[in-house]
């Protein structure tokens, strides 16, 4: 890229050919200095980002050290400083630790599964014929397009205890197989959405189902960009499919995987809508993750916004640390 902008360059050009321009059109009055234009263009964006993202981020950091209850929300009393009390309280709370565990374990499993399934499907799409691959892409597009709340609703219905398709399908298994695998033969009335572990199992399926299409389509786009000669060379050398994948495909797609991993981590770490629907609101405290725990602390009576803020800070710090590594890589490789 050149160091001068189109507009700046024009400034020079005008100086060199003033006569022509004056003949074409009347001279404009007060002109903004060229250097100020980008800053002026950025003003609305900066105001929005500053006021709606950065300033609240600072505020939440401050509120984590304050007591903000009903009285303070209504503005009758100013928020009082309580030091690290909010943090001490949530660290003493069992729910916080189970929420932290749920968040991390869920993110690790969901991100890995999504990446594995998505990559496998992307590789498959690349091998399929043109018509078949379009057909499958349109199909997976539907899963990708479903809004998170509707995702939760759909899978809640599929896993419904009485009329759910999953229990019906499990009942189809021959009794001996079902007993050998799960120690039971009938699945009717199996309540999948009562215990924390089974809620998370359903949540993992839901999230993987909804997010693998994006990975698959991105991997496919990456694969189509790899020159075919590389694969031909590998074939000539008698390389196995597995080896070809790890020696050619994976290294070339590494930047793609880096971005996909960050995005998946960001999305899965703070999953809210699907979990909210699957749990039926913030009712089952053992199944909370950090997002829902923060929401429940701050917005269910009695509102404890200070401790909600403290949880949000913990969530943000974890997210920033986890993604910082990848962001650095992104900044490095991308010519911004």
């Amino acid at each position: 890229m050149t160091n001068t902008s189109t507009l700046a360059r024009d400034g020079g050009r005008r100086a060199s050919a003033p006569g022509r321009r004056r003949a074409d059109r009347p001279v404009r009055r007060t002109r903004l200095p060229v250097w100020s234009i980008p800053y002026i263009l950025l003003i609305p964006g900066l105001v929005v980002i500053g006021a709606l993202l950065l300033y609240p981020m600072v505020q939440v950091g401050i509120m984590a050290f304050q007591k903000v209850g009903l009285v303070q929300i209504s503005g009758k009393k100013p928020a009082t400083w309580v030091g690290t009390e909010n943090f001490e309280k949530i660290f003493d709370n069992e729910i916080f630790w189970s929420a932290l565990r749920n968040t991390v374990v869920f993110a690790v499993i969901a991100v890995s599964l999504t990446l594995i399934v998505g990559t496998a499907v992307g590789v498959l799409l690349n091998k399929l014929g043109r018509k078949m691959s379009t057909f499958v892409v349109v199909g997976i597009m539907f899963a990708w397009a479903v809004p998170p709340v509707a995702q939760g609703i759909i899978w809640r219905w599929l896993f419904d205890a009485e009329a759910g398709v999953i229990n019906w399908a499990l009942n189809l298994l021959p009794d001996w197989l079902s007993s050998a695998l799960f120690g039971r033969a009938t699945w009717t009335d199996e309540p999948w959405l009562n215990d924390a572990w089974s809620i998370y199992m359903v949540l993992i399926i839901t999230v993987v189902w909804a997010s693998f299409p994006f990975i698959a389509v991105s991997v496919l786009a990456g694969l189509r960009g790899i020159p075919a000669e590389l694969y031909e060379a590998a074939k000539v050398d008698g390389s196995s499919a597995w080896r070809t994948f790890w020696k050619i495909t994976f290294p070339l797609l590494k930047p793609v995987f880096a971005v996909l991993t960050v995005l998946s981590i960001i999305w899965d770490f703070k999953v809210f809508s699907q979990l909210y629907v699957l749990m039926g609101g913030p009712a089952n405290r053992e199944a909370f993750n950090l997002s829902i725990f923060s929401y429940a602390e701050a917005f269910r009576s009695p509102p404890k916004m200070g401790s909600g803020a403290a949880i949000a800070v913990v969530l943000t710090v974890i997210l920033l640390v986890v993604t910082a590594v990848y962001v650095r890589q992104l900044v490095k490789q991308e010519e911004m």
Binding site: L128, A221, S294
Partner: protein
């Protein structure tokens, strides 16, 4: 096995895997739509009824007339549309200006701004929930769709700028320079040369923002107290609060919420991928 037979078998297996992926992806969506059009005796059954043999519009009618939480689903669809379109209109203008600045100019603080954009995208919206709730309340925007629009503009803008700047950068500078030589002013060049060329990218970015705002649950849950201001996601989760889950009505409503998103997705699928992983994918 002869090599030919082996290749043929391989092809059959690959296509079978493709069909399996297709079914896994589409069945849950199909099941939502099918349930929406089944009569209640076919919904609440332990047996598997693949098609609605007694096809009925009763659930659709019910959610449109009776609705949920005291209002017809139309109202919630309308609220969602107002919020999403408002977000898109404001967001499109702001992101186009900022994207032009970063893609067309080299200025002091440009890299800093891009890093701020990246960081802003990393901030979980859940962390902003509490302070934004208090601010919206203080500004008197509580229970108003405008409050939701403002918040959604904030949530979608960093990504909008990030995505749009690649589209602006893709327009060859020589076109603008040609317009300059012909004596076009700064604004004319922007409006008559750059804007039409960036328009497809702007549409893709706008659709992305539309979908984000359309799907947004957590802020709508917190900033809307009066049921007249509910958006679709809030109305949908409200169904579960009622006694006896009315699956037919829920599925009819969620189908109505899903349709616009599916249409948009099919329209901009390719651009969304290029925008999300811009720079990393060559293709």
């Amino acid at each position: 096995m002869s090599p030919l037979a082996r290749r043929r078998l391989g092809k059959v297996l690959l296509n079978a895997a493709g069909v399996a992926v297709f079914l896994f992806a589409i069945f849950p969506v199909y099941w939502m739509v099918a349930t929406a059009f089944k009569a209640n005796d076919q919904i609440f059954t332990t047996s598997f009824i693949p098609f609605p043999t007694h096809f009925t519009f009763e659930h659709v009618d019910r959610v449109l007339s009776e609705g949920v939480a005291g209002h017809s689903i139309w109202l919630y669809l309308r609220n969602s549309a107002v919020v999403a379109l408002g977000t898109v209109l404001v967001g499109a203008v702001f992101s186009l200006l900022a994207a032009t600045a970063v893609a067309r100019f080299r200025f002091k603080g440009r890299t800093g701004f891009l890093i701020v954009l990246l960081i802003a995208q990393m901030i979980p919206s859940e962390a902003l929930l509490i302070p934004l709730f208090l601010s919206v309340k203080r500004l008197g925007l509580y229970d108003q769709l405008l409050g939701l629009i403002v918040v959604n503009v904030g949530l979608t803008l960093p990504f909008g700028i990030w995505m749009l700047r690649t589209f602006v950068a893709a327009v060859p500078r020589s076109l603008e320079e040609a317009a300059w030589i012909d004596g076009a002013g700064r604004f004319t060049t922007f409006w008559r040369v750059l804007f039409p060329l960036v328009a497809p990218g702007l549409v893709a970015t706008s659709i992305f923002s539309f979908i984000t705002a359309w799907n947004e649950l957590i802020f709508a849950l917190v900033l809307m107290n009066d049921s007249g201001g509910y958006t679709m996601p809030v109305a949908l989760q409200y169904f579960f609060g009622q006694r006896g889950t009315d699956w037919g009505a829920i599925m009819a409503s969620s189908t109505m919420m899903t349709i616009p998103v599916v249409v948009f997705f099919l329209l901009v699928q390719r651009r969304m991928v290029s925008g999300l992983v811009a720079g990393a994918v060559k293709g």
